[in-house]
């Protein structure tokens, strides 16, 4: 019982997810076969989730510490554009100049530099993270657009692109589980464990809940914030590369889909509070991510949405499901508050009674 009560919200999200999934599977039945439950459909859904999932983790950690990085998409874009150029560079003999692992490491250095800049602006100059990262975001996306000539840079290194194609486990003849998704889930799981079981993880919550109290308790809030900025930037690069591996290119299209924004939305939906602290960890955020992605993706499989005239409804529903989930959250947290109040009143009454007796 207490487990249900504790995780009421996450359970609600899971139920909602199951409903969304089941409805999509049922309405897409065509000639006795569900087109939604086929290998390719599931695979492309999981592909969509994998890049968003990795980027969500970094963002969720930042949110928990009471900070934010709105330039995540722009950073990832700049990272993959640089990666694409490095990977495509030819040496004198016409062969590839660098192995892609080395290119990745060079990009990591760039990401760390950007993260350190954010940390400097927010911690040393006391800028609000929100505004500082909006500012740097336009710097990065300006550079990335200029560098890629506002177009695409193709990546055709087989050893890198093949990772994007790899899938295992089969439905019928088609494999459906992309390796990228397994990586993404592994990352989420590692961070979930880290948040709960290591002192560092708990310190993140503490800094987010009350920065001053954290400092008084001997925590170095600046250091934690710096680590989280670096962490977010590196995860953004990895998420961006997952996208690039699937699409075989680096392109400004990446930031139009705004994966970090949807990752942030998923995290908040899963119970990570925007103002720091927050009770839920990565598990709720993951369920939120699955729910949002499945919902928007499954709309493509509804027969009634096939006509072009229903595009507006798809867009509107995408926003509405968020509103509905948040209302759910508001109602449950109000209920929890009422229960707490009732318990406190009871305790006070009991206390008063015992005092009267003595």
């Amino acid at each position: 019982m207490s487990f249900v009560k504790k995780n009421f919200k996450t359970l609600c999200l899971i139920v909602l997810f199951v409903i969304v999934f089941a409805v999509a599977a049922l309405v897409s039945v065509k000639g006795g076969k569900s087109t939604f439950l086929s290998g390719p459909a599931i695979r492309s859904l999981l592909f969509q989730m994998s890049a968003g999932g990795v980027m969500m983790v970094g963002m969720a950690c930042l949110l928990m510490s009471g900070s934010i990085d709105l330039s995540t998409d722009a950073q990832a874009l700049l990272g993959i554009v640089m990666f694409a150029y490095l990977v495509q560079a030819k040496n004198a003999a016409g062969g590839p100049l660098l192995p892609w692992g080395v290119a990745f490491l060079i990009c990591c250095v760039l990401m760390v530099c950007m993260a350190l800049l954010h940390s400097f602006l927010c911690n040393k100059l006391n800028f609000m993270p929100f505004i500082a990262t909006i500012a740097t975001s336009s710097v990065y996306s300006g550079i990335a657009t200029w560098w890629s000539n506002a177009g695409t840079v193709a990546i055709n290194r087989a050893s890198f692109v093949n990772i994007g194609k790899l899938s295992v486990l089969k439905i019928g003849t088609q494999p459906y589980l992309p390796v990228l998704f397994i990586i993404s889930v592994a990352v989420i799981a590692i961070y979930a464990l880290m948040l709960v079981y290591t002192p560092f993880g708990r310190n993140i919550y503490l800094v987010g809940g009350n920065r001053r109290a954290a400092r008084l308790a001997g925590l170095n809030a600046e250091k934690i914030s710096t680590i989280l900025f670096v962490n977010n930037s590196l995860l953004a690069l990895i998420g961006g590369l997952m996208w690039a591996a699937q699409k075989k290119m680096a392109s400004v299209q990446f930031s139009t889909s705004a994966p970090s924004m949807s990752g942030m939305t998923a995290a908040i939906l899963g119970g990570v509070s925007f103002m720091g602290g927050g009770a839920t960890g990565m598990g709720g955020a993951f369920v939120g991510l699955a729910l949002l992605n499945t919902f928007t993706y499954s709309l493509n499989y509804y027969p009634i949405f096939q006509g072009q005239q229903w595009i507006w409804l798809q867009q509107t529903l995408g926003g509405l499901i968020l509103v509905i989930a948040l209302i759910l959250d508001a109602v449950t947290s109000q209920r929890a508050n009422r229960q707490l109040l009732a318990a406190r009143k009871k305790a006070i009454a009991a206390g008063a009674g015992s005092r009267a007796r003595t």
Partner: protein, 354 residues
């Protein structure tokens, strides 16, 4: 006493902003002189252009500034603007609305969106960031709905272009009035051209500035932003103020949309898409802090002037649009850094005084 006032002014945020504006003007004048072999920035014409592009972000900033002072924010204002612009175009094109009916209905719908935002934030206790972002998605969806031509086979229209031949119910041409709002210029061809819409913006800024600094309501807005609990204890209703400000932000967003459509004579589904943070940024540049409770209208206006003059300056030196994007970010960081430095100086001076 007089000197004291002057000293106070030199330490204010406004002073920093004005200095920044001055530096910017000097840099671009010199730069464009070197590059073009003559002054092409510091001319009355480019001044008019700078001012002419301020209307839309200006109105977005008006709404955003009030909300931010009260400790809230609204990311959906730009979407509401796009919606209202599209609504005006669609209602005139498909349903033969008169110009006043179209604008009035668009603003009423905008206000309704504002109420929806306020309900989500006040009744369901959503974080304003996420509530207004969700609303913004919903509104963009509804925008595609109203952009559809009810009579056409393939109803999707990403843009609706109004032509002068369109007649309303009474046989008038609504585009006449719309192009007056968007394009009419006083003293056409004279040394100083004053666009009609700028007069409206300046009236708006003055009106909002007076409300904020001189009326009881304005004081309540600051109070709610500074400390909502204290505000309630002294008898201010924070909820009521929040409702008014969300509606206000939505309506000013709607007005921005009116100007978009009347300037371009188009309703576009991608209108104001890049303006999600424009209002917020201008307000912040002007010294309105995120937590609420501080800042004013004049600063926000000068902040806007700085960003617009910067864009025009980049144009006058033929910089690419990517460079403009990149350096506008640098400008913002610079402005924040100057603010940081001046604040620290003030604090140091105050400490010395003790």
């Amino acid at each position: 006493m007089k000197r004291n006032k002057f000293e106070k002014f030199t330490q204010s945020k406004m002073f920093t902003l004005l200095i920044l504006l001055l530096i910017e003007v000097v840099i671009f004048t010199v730069w464009s002189w070197i590059k073009q072999g003559g002054n092409s920035f510091l001319t009355l014409k480019s001044l008019t252009t700078v001012v002419g592009t301020m209307t839309i972000p200006g109105f977005l900033a008006l709404g955003a500034a009030f909300l931010m002072i009260s400790g809230n924010m609204d990311l959906s204002a730009a979407s509401i603007g796009a919606f209202s612009g599209m609504f005006i175009a669609a209602s005139i094109q498909y349903y033969h609305f008169s110009w006043w009916a179209a604008i009035l209905t668009a603003l009423i719908i905008s206000a309704a969106f504002g109420v929806a935002n306020a309900v989500l934030v006040n009744e369901f206790h959503f974080q304003p960031f996420i509530a207004t972002m969700a609303m913004s998605t919903v509104i963009r969806g509804l925008l595609s709905l109203i952009s559809m031509d009810p009579k056409a086979e393939l109803p999707i229209a990403t843009t609706i272009t109004l032509n002068g031949k369109m007649a309303d119910w009474f046989g008038n041409h609504p585009t006449d009035q719309l192009s007056f709002i968007g394009k009419y210029v006083f003293f056409q061809g004279k040394a100083v051209e004053i666009p009609f819409n700028i007069i409206i913006l300046i009236l708006g800024v003055v009106l909002f500035g007076i409300i904020l600094s001189k009326t009881k309501f304005g004081m309540k807005v600051y109070l709610v932003g500074g400390n909502p609990f204290a505000a309630r204890l002294v008898g201010v209703n924070p909820k009521k103020i929040s409702y008014i400000l969300f509606v206000n932000s939505a309506v000013t967003g709607g007005i921005a949309g009116v100007f978009f459509t009347s300037k371009t004579l188009q309703g576009a589904s991608i209108a104001l898409q890049a303006d999600m943070f424009t209002g917020l940024t201008a307000a912040m540049l002007g010294g309105i802090s995120f937590g609420g409770g501080s800042g004013g209208m004049g600063g926000a206006f000068v902040g806007l002037l700085i960003t617009r003059a910067f864009n025009q300056g980049m144009l006058s030196i033929n910089a690419s649009s990517f460079a403009t994007t990149a350096f506008s970010g640098v400008l913002l960081i610079l402005a924040l850094a100057i603010d940081f430095a001046s604040q620290r100086r003030t604090v140091a001076r105050a400490l010395k005084g003790v």
